[in-house]
Amino acid sequence: MTIAIDEHMFEREHVYIRYIRLVRRKWLISLVLCAVLAATALVALSTGSSALGLADLYPALTDSGHPAHAIVTQLRLPRIVMAILVGFGLSLAGVVFQAILRNPLASPYTLGIGSSAGFGAVLPIFFLPAAAGRDVWIAASAFLFTMISAFVVLAVSRLRNAGSETMILTGIALMFLFSALTSFFQYMGTMEQVSEIVFWFFGSLSKAGWMEIPVSAIMILTPFPFILRMAPDFNLLATGDDAAKGLGVNVERVRMAALILASFVTAGAICFTGVIGFVGLVAPHITRMLLGSDHRFLLPASAMSGAVLVLAADTLGRTVWAPQVIPLGIVTAFTGVPFFFYLLVRRTKETW
């Protein structure tokens, strides 16, 4: 009898230990991602038209007399910080949209946010003269239209129980509407206007400076703790609305709050840089393959891998074909897709 009880306890302990090992692995992978991000940032800081050794980096950053000081602090550093913020935000928003829409194919742009932000950017390009202050209006208008489309999705789905299908359909309808409006303005516009619009849709970090960074940082980082707090609820949503409700989740409220926060983050990421595709879809999936889909780990780790992806892509984009700079949106796709395929094919483990 006592032997049977001991065996039971042993089995119980065994299950616990196996699970804890899995959790430790997730912590480890998260830490490795942070280290990879730091290393990528160092490489990005030292490469470019005036290459620096790692030993030169510190004096170039701190000593204003150093020949590379201006390049590093005024051009490269803000660009790197912006790349990290944008990748962090888009990937974070991607995870949130995938969770609340219960759709692995969702991205920050699924609900029409990309096209509405794009249309927001089109308006100042079309109506304001090409002067120095116009970029601020482009960013403000892109932000405004992002939030407008988020609230339209919210309002329509509220009328019908806040289900994920209603949200997706509303988002798709909005996407077509704003694409059509953008096309209309492109059709009416001059050559310069059209090329500026196209450039905006490619996404670029070339306009990122120390002025824009605080604004983006606030919009991307402030919602983060609130999003992270909802992580256990996102986990429950994965098995369906009814199941989540049965486990005590206020599904409608979580979905609404998450939609607003994630739209805000997306707006912060794209209003200065344009539509950078692919990151918000693929960085979450890469991370999911690395450490599973427990959102308490997935949210911060995806944000990290998104930052790595955008930073690496931008660094490649400005160095491989220097002095030409390849638009960021194109490079993210070029670098991310092969890696994504590699993981997709190689994935053999049972728990992703």
């Binding site: 699970y19 995938q98 759709n103 989740v249 427990d294 049972e350």
Partner: protein, 252 residues
Amino acid sequence: MLEIKGLTFGYNGRSVLTDIGFCLKQGEIITVAGPNGTGKSSLLKCITRINDIGKGQITIHGKDTRTMSRMALARHLGYVPQSVQSRFPMTVFDAVLMGRRPHMSWRPSRRDMDIVSEILTDLNLVDLAVTDFERLSGGQKQKVLLARALAQDADFLVLDEPTSSLDLKHQIDVMRLIRNLAATRNVGVIMAMHDLNLAARFSDRVLMLCNGKIHGLGEPWDVIHEESIRDVYGVDAMIGESNGVRFVLPGH
């Protein structure tokens, strides 16, 4: 005690349930039977408050469920929906750990994880603990979902067709498990089911629904007979007996 009084429910102007009233004691198993579309799932969803009830009242230990928060309700009531499909990979352990959500804050405690390990051991799911939920067979999934509902540490379980997609052996396995849990953990179970033989064999009482009204409620063979089956399903049936065990043979 779970008590339902004068429950009426409908949507889009169509009435689904009218004047339902009964009690479920802890340790008791009630099966809800009846034709498709007669309101079985709706009744279960009213109890879990996934559906907002129209008229009437549902109380748990004397407390109106409408005055409770969802979290508080989830501490009293475990729910297993008809089909659960995870869109994202998760281990069996994680799936069962979700059942601790009503009791935990952001981070599961050692106690939460001990409870999950304990349940997995009890239900012989040890070997599957770190397997992906979506790789399980239908029977295994159903067991994991039961484990998850058990982790909620609730006094009552609401199960929507727990055997609907299972083969013969797994049907019996799962029903024995439910019977066993009701007895050992003193959990009250209400479940929807189509198979009248299983219902009669494993439940204390059967509630026969017909067009949203209670057609009969009582000991299984008091409710299941040729007449009631003809009334409710419009099918002729024979009640037989062999070696002292009764069975129903529909379509005879």
